[in-house]
């Protein structure tokens, strides 16, 4: 058994990585539920944003907040552009998986072409800063990332739950024809949600640039675990995604501490398979 402090440290890092999973999964979850697009390219968008952050913060010396402000509208537009293409070529839900996988590979190649296959690390004074509380180290940027993830998830949830636009999106996802007959312009809402999904990639990208080492091959590293979190949390349910991300993050971290890091993926996929067997109608 690991010591109590190691366990506590693991749980903390599990919670914090859960924040990252939430940020990564939100765009995927929204576009899957409301656009019937399983957007694998989202992971490439995230890394494109991360590399651009590396460029803006590390090379141009911008403040990360400013970098985020620049990237948000850009990725909002990228999300809309992708949705335009998918509508233009009337790509259905299953085909979207293939098409966006193609885009993912293209973007990965593009990233490799621009930034090479070498590891890139954004060196900042605060990137690895942490405060020591008792025997536990609390990394500051990752804490900030976690709080941003919670805020983004809660705000998105409330937006979907309480606003007319949110309700229209949910109604449209259930029955687009009848929603249309009651005045919902599905196409316009689709572009909005595609843009928002894209913008969440910018948020995730900035934080990944700050806390992690970048390499083109990293693009697919979180794909499996984020898929598990999105499905566990329920499509289009930001709060469910947050909870699922935390559950997966923490159970992975505990598994790593108790056994070995290589066993971590077992947790998320065991949970995913269990949920697919026990509650398949939820997917």
């Amino acid at each position: 058994m690991p010591s109590a402090s190691l366990l506590a440290q693991s749980i903390l890092s599990g919670i914090l990585i859960g924040g990252l999973y939430t940020l990564l999964g939100l765009g995927l979850s929204l576009s899957w539920r409301f656009l019937q697009v399983i957007n694998l390219a989202h992971f490439a968008f995230v890394f494109l944003a991360a590399y651009l952050s590396y460029q803006l913060i590390g090379v141009a010396g911008l403040n990360p907040g400013l970098a985020l402000l620049i990237l948000l509208p850009i990725f909002f537009l990228i999300g809309i552009a992708l949705q335009y293409l998918l509508i233009r070529f009337s790509v259905n839900e299953f085909a979207s998986l293939l098409v966006t996988f193609g885009i993912l590979v293209l973007l990965e190649t593009l990233i490799q072409w621009i930034w090479s296959a070498d590891f890139r690390r954004l060196e900042t004074s605060y990137g690895t800063a942490s405060i020591k509380i008792g025997a536990i180290y609390v990394p500051i940027v990752e804490c900030l990332m976690f709080f941003v993830a919670v805020i983004v998830a809660v705000v998105t949830w409330a937006w979907l739950k309480f606003t007319y636009v949110g309700k229209a999106l949910r109604a449209s996802a259930e029955n687009p024809i009848i929603a249309g007959a009651y005045g919902v312009n599905h196409k316009r809402l689709a572009y909005l949600i595609a843009g928002i999904s894209g913008a969440t990639a910018a948020i995730a990208g900035v934080f990944i640039a700050l806390i992690s080492t970048l390499a083109p091959a990293q693009v697919v590293v979180w794909l499996g675990v984020v898929f598990a979190a999105v499905i566990l949390g329920g499509l289009g349910n930001p709060l469910g995604l947050l909870v699922a991300s935390l559950v997966i993050g923490v159970s992975e971290a505990i598994t790593m501490a108790v056994t070995a890091p290589t066993w971590a993926p077992l947790v998320s996929f065991t949970l995913l398979i269990a949920i697919l067997i026990l509650r398949p109608h939820k997917v």
Binding site: A181, Y182, V184
Partner: protein, 241 residues
């Protein structure tokens, strides 16, 4: 109010409606009756513009609306109560009503609209936080009517409201529709239950095989042998009634 001229509708290459012409006057309650598969739902969906037509035209208050999308029909004051209700079953009763008043002009009257619906259907107020899919069939149909009323329509398109409901619930529902009509609502009603449709309608079209085969006031139709034999199950030969 509504005028349909020589409407043709087909599914792919298979024609479903041939040259349908009909009108609904302001404040009038018009019923369309006919057997299963006659094209009644096709007709009403085409009027709501959720189904495209191939020929002919549709006019609303003297304005041609044939080329408009369904959202625009909603803006112009046409509300559809679709066959099988087709509620947003994963959303609450209240959210379904709110979707009814999604169009900006109706949204301004959200509170009054909801009060009115709850007055007509008190059970919906009790259940307002409940998920629509968990309501009974009768309550779901009430919600479908309520959702349409929230849109503040001038013309209500009602498709087969009695579907799957018990005779008692059906009767209650028709009392409500009658009352809504008495308050001045124009209504186009599609109904398989011919007896009940003839009872409430002011004018009736009989559709068979995608064509209008006869039309008139209920009492005139009731006098014809075809209606009595085919729809009311009477044996005219034997001289019953």
């Amino acid at each position: 109010m509504l005028e349909v001229r020589a409407l043709d509708v087909s599914y792919g290459d298979a024609p479903a409606l041939w040259g349908i012409s009909m009108t609904v006057g302001a404040g009038e309650l018009v019923a369309v009756v006919g057997p299963n598969g006659a094209g009644k739902t096709t007709l009403i969906n085409s009027i709501a513009r959720i189904l495209p037509s191939r020929g002919g035209s549709i006019w609303l208050d003297g304005v041609e609306v044939t080329a408009l999308p369904s959202q625009a029909m909603c803006e112009l004051g046409v509300a559809l109560i679709p066959e099988g209700r087709r509620l947003f079953v994963g959303m609450t009763v209240e959210e379904n009503l709110e979707m009814g008043c999604y169009r900006p002009a109706a949204r301004l009257h959200r509170v009054q609209g909801m009060e009115r619906v709850y007055e007509i259907f008190p059970i919906l107020k009790e259940r307002r936080r409940q998920i629509a899919g968990t309501l009974s069939g009768g309550q779901q149909q009430m919600l479908a009517v309520g959702r349409a009323l929230m849109a503040r329509p001038k013309l209500l398109l009602v498709d087969e409201p009695s579907l799957g409901l018990s005779p008692l619930i059906t009767q209650q529902l028709f009392e409500v529709l009658k009352k809504i009509h008495a308050d001045g609502m124009s209504m186009l009603l599609i109904e398989q239950n011919v007896a009940i449709a003839l009872d409430i309608a002011e004018r009736v079209y009989v559709v068979e095989g995608g064509r209008i085969v006869s039309t008139g006031k209920p009492k005139d139709l009731l006098a014809t042998r075809h209606i009595r034999e085919a729809y009311l199950g009477e044996d005219v030969e034997a001289g019953s009634r």
